[in-house]
Amino acid sequence: MEKIKYTVKIKRYNPEEDRSYWQDFEVEVEDSLTVLELLMHIKDKMDSTLTFRAFCRSAICGSCAMVINNRAGLACKIQAKDKIKRGVIKIEPLKTLKPVRDLVVDQEPAFDKLKKIKPYLEADPKIVPDNTKVESLVLPEEFARYDKQTDCILCMACYGQCNAIEGNPEYSGPFQLTKVFRFVMDTRDGMDIQERIKLAEDNGIWDCVQCQMCFAACPKGIASCEDILELRRVAKDTGEDNVATRRAKFWFETVFATGQIDKFNLPAVALNDEKGEEIRNNLAKEFTQRGISQEHFVPQPFENIKDFQKFIKKVEKEL
């Protein structure tokens, strides 16, 4: 084992003074440390007041999520050596939750949002037996639909990196929406799907910006951003009619018809109101002013579009 020298830049928070500040620690430590072990080293040898949350050290308990070099992750799962950038590792508390002290954040608002989406199975009496002697079977292919999502350890790394919360502090959050997805897909769940979707819609799926940061942060490789798209699909397929579901339908229809999305007519179709019409009229004016010919207002089908359409139909059926 080799010893290496570097600077650990930690964003600390002192609640007595309600003050956040950066503090540098110069360390010379073994190159095999995880970020959590590095923090323990600093606490043991350099500053016993440094406060962080940790427990299992095995990426299971989900206590030690924090922001390391601008990316949220579990301190116990990340090798410190890999995170030294130009001689420095930067460590901060999760960004979308209030710090309690140093790297410890108040998780309660995120847990409150989790409770709101009813994160539990409401047994479907048609599927789940009413006694404990008979097993409630789930087929492997049924479980596969949400197997990955059950790996969530509620560490809040995704939540701490979420851009939608940056824009709307009331946003329900990535892991909360993944939880909705998990129960929507569970064959044993008896709650009405539309009720589940409603829970996901309140400051939820429509506010997601699809930035992919939740997926980048998750120590278990769960892509909440993709689960959110699936929830939007379910909302559409269970008959919901709103600007987003109209957009999704029109998007597919025009790509199928021409190969490209018709952005000229999209606002009018999706918004389905006077404002949408106004946007279309303004676009038409702008295009004319810029000398764009009318046939270029909307995409034209490319050559042999029928072959493309056959391809899409086959993909839907066979892939």
């Binding site: 601008n70 851009n163 995409p299 839907e316």
Partner: protein, 275 residues
């Protein structure tokens, strides 16, 4: 002459038609020939998933296969197209069964996804396809006296598996902007906050609240202009107090074009460049 395949996404269409001129001129300025992949289709835009996720794999396997048929790599300036196509490539290259299944269907159109074509975005195109040394040689004049705040946008840095640079410490945008003679302003407030483009329809208020944040951060840090490689970030963030341009527009100007020739005058928020 080295050639690259231009992937036509929705950022070249209708009100955004000028983006096509911008990148064709950019490729020309880089000394690259191009082939327009004119039978390529929409990448899915993160919306076709709401119909059926499998279609997204199909569409992009086909898009890449079209480039491979032409014997070229695929280039898109759009962060989102890049991310979705690169994600599909990753899925196909790591799952032989999926690849075989897609190829069976592609065969009807005489296409095959081989996995040979690389996926380029403006940032890695300059670094890996053109080369930074060659890029610097092609800069003819300096855009001096202007402070530029680089803004990457999300989809060139996340997910990590398709990021074009180290997502924790990206430097590529600075390396591309510096040779233009501009002053770089980094580390500003909300530098990595999403532009909100993809919430434009589903939650317009959300888009508005997000789009302005990086602009305000850049302005506060003293930047005159924000520069993004992504046409969607540009579209989402143009029209506020702080102006934003595409990196390729600045490069075109530094390669000798007038601001009008590379459509800088179309910006909703006026931009003044001293040359």
């Amino acid at each position: 002459m080295k050639k690259i395949g231009i992937y036509p996404g929705c950022c070249f269409q209708g009100a955004d038609e000028h983006n096509y001129d911008i990148i064709v001129a950019f490729l020309d300025n880089m000394g690259l020939g191009n082939v327009l992949l004119d039978r390529a289709a929409c990448c899915g835009g993160g919306v076709i998933d709401e119909t059926n996720k499998k279609i997204v794999y199909g569409l992009n396997a086909r898009n890449i296969a079209l480039a491979e048929k032409e014997g070229v790599d695929l280039y898109t300036p759009c962060n989102t197209c890049y991310m979705i196509i690169a994600k599909t490539k990753l899925a196909l290259d790591s799952d032989p069964e999926l690849k075989d299944a897609v190829n069976k269907i592609l065969a009807d159109e005489g296409l095959e996804y081989k996995g040979e074509a690389k996926i380029y975005h403006t940032l890695n195109l300059i670094r890996d396809f053109v080369g930074l040394d060659e890029y610097k040689k092609r800069i003819k004049r300096q855009i001096s006296g202007v402070k530029i705040a680089p803004y990457y946008g999300c989809h060139v840095l996340a997910p990590n598996e398709v990021a074009v640079d180290d997502p924790e410490d990206p430097t590529i945008l600075r390396e591309i902007l510096e040779p233009l003679g501009v002053e770089i302003i980094e580390g500003y407030q909300n530098e990595t906050t999403c532009c909100g483009y993809h919430a434009g329809f589903t939650s317009p208020g959300q888009k508005e609240r997000l789009a302005i944040k990086p602009l305000e951060g850049a302005k506060e840090a003293g930047a005159d202009i924000v520069a993004t490689p992504c046409p969607l970030c540009h579209k989402a963030m143009d029209g506020y107090e702080e102006p934003i341009l595409q990196v390729t527009q600045l490069i075109n100007v530094a390669c000798g074009m007038t601001p009008e020739e590379t459509h800088i005058h179309i910006n909703k928020t006026e931009v003044k460049l001293s040359l």
